[in-house]
């Protein structure tokens, strides 16, 4: 811990001070610090948690009336939350888990989705992804869908999503589907990309690499690639005292409900009967 402190403090210094204190160049020291933070997050949070009652959120905002009021509002419609690890992949992981959990009890949707997932690899190849780099991810993705077909108990799906290897391969494949959709509809999506980047550059930089956080554009692309509606409920510092839901695509009947707090997505479960 103490060493971490010294190194964190050192990062505010000049290049020379950093090198003297850490024995590393500034860039290396920053990367090392990021790795330490990531490891800390890893140790304290499973990739997907068990479910908790909504009011567990209050513990995170003890002296914060804005959040407290909104958590009260949230609890009027939602009973539980399932947390995901804040590793930059949380949207994809939360979405993937929540959707597959739903498919456990929706056979019709499952067979539609399985057929679409089956042919998705060829579609990605036709968009220019080298087959040998995407095969393994597609295979794992299909294996997990087959697991869901066998209607396992929920805990088995939780275990699958807690297995870093399988879980990350699912995230990779969802990222690839997102990237594929953005590139397929590049004419449309290019209007939403900031800066001088092409859609392809944006995908290579912000979508395909692991740990890059998701924005609206990722959500819109993934939901339209899969034909799955998502509701994102915003819990932030905005005025009004109420949480605000946004549906992607607009007007859909959402199959997945996620809670968004600035920089992070978790899974939400509605109150029974609502």
């Amino acid at each position: 811990m103490e060493e971490n402190q010294i190194q964190s403090d050192a990062l505010g210094g000049t290049d020379q001070e950093i090198e003297e204190l850490t024995g590393m160049a500034r860039d290396e020291a920053i990367i090392a610090q990021q790795e330490r933070i990531q490891n800390e997050i890893k140790e304290n949070n499973p990739l997907v948690s068990q479910t908790y009652p909504i009011n567990v959120l209050c513990e995170e905002y003890l002296d914060d009336p804005v959040y407290k009021a909104k958590i009260d509002d949230l609890s009027m419609q939602y009973s539980h939350i399932r947390k995901t690890r804040g590793d930059g992949n949380c949207f994809f992981r939360a979405f993937g888990f929540a959707y597959l959990e739903r498919l456990l009890t929706d056979k019709k949707e499952l067979s539609r989705f399985k057929a679409a997932a089956e042919i998705s690899k060829d579609q990605l190849v036709s968009l220019g992804f080298p087959s040998f780099t995407i095969t393994d991810f597609h295979e794992t993705f299909m294996e997990v869908i087959q697991q869901v077909e066998k209607q396992p108990v929920l805990d088995e799906l939780v275990d699958t999503f807690r297995d870093q290897g399988i879980s990350d391969y699912i995230v990779v494949y969802l990222r690839l589907l997102t990237s594929g959709q953005l590139q397929k509809e590049a004419e449309f999506y290019k209007n939403f990309i900031e800066g001088e980047r092409t859609v392809k550059e944006f995908c290579r930089r912000e979508v395909e690499p692991m740990a890059r956080e998701s924005d609206h554009i990722h959500i819109i692309a993934l939901t339209s690639a899969l034909g799955v509606g998502v509701r994102v409920v915003y819990l932030d510092r905005g005025d009004g005292g109420k949480v605000i839901p946004h549906d992607f695509p607009e007007g859909c009947s959402p199959q997945v409900i996620l809670l968004y707090r600035p920089g992070h997505y978790d899974v939400l479960y509605p109150l029974k009967g609502s």
Binding site: D27, F132, G165, R175, R197, R205, P209, A211
Partner: protein, 217 residues
Amino acid sequence: MLMRRSGLPPCDQCVYVLICVICAASSVVEEVTRSCQISPHFYTTITMAGAALKRLMTEYKQLTLNPPEGIVAGPLNEDNFFEWEATISGPEGTCFEGGVFEAQILFPPDYPLNPPKMKFKSEMFHPNIYADGRVCISILHAPGDDPMGYESSAERWSPVQSVEKILLSVVSMLAEPNDESGANVDASKMWRDEREKFNQIAEGIVRKSLGLPPAPS
């Protein structure tokens, strides 16, 4: 093991057999892990390494069947697919033309989720290569925010990149150094301000890579 060393490409069947061997091995591992109660983390590492190995063998096959110009790469020893050696020819029309440079590529057990590390074994003098030979280009950087100040369009590592893509990036790095993100500050400065001198040092490095004595002055 099943594949021969040297430039001969592994045939489909060899790769297939090898994959079967590994798959069988992983089920054995699963059994051993369960019965010995090895921690699940360790088990995950093993299964991830299995996935990495499968991918690395596919990439090796790709590279031997369709080698990019001026690049040869493969495992140093086929008992260990996680350590490769690469030979890169200095790109034509650049100060590194004619050189043949050797590098080591080390893959993490969770490849391709994380990128390999690459280090030149031949002596190098280049803005984007550290004095100890480590290569510093955006495609080799792990996900997450990079402090290196690369342009926002610079390619970074993702699981759909490959060894081939890395090596091609290294070739273009040799041809066009990026003096904005200097790993070797002296080389960066010289590349910017004293190109003649830089070219002379590069020539010396090219000769050295070929085992030739320094050019007579």
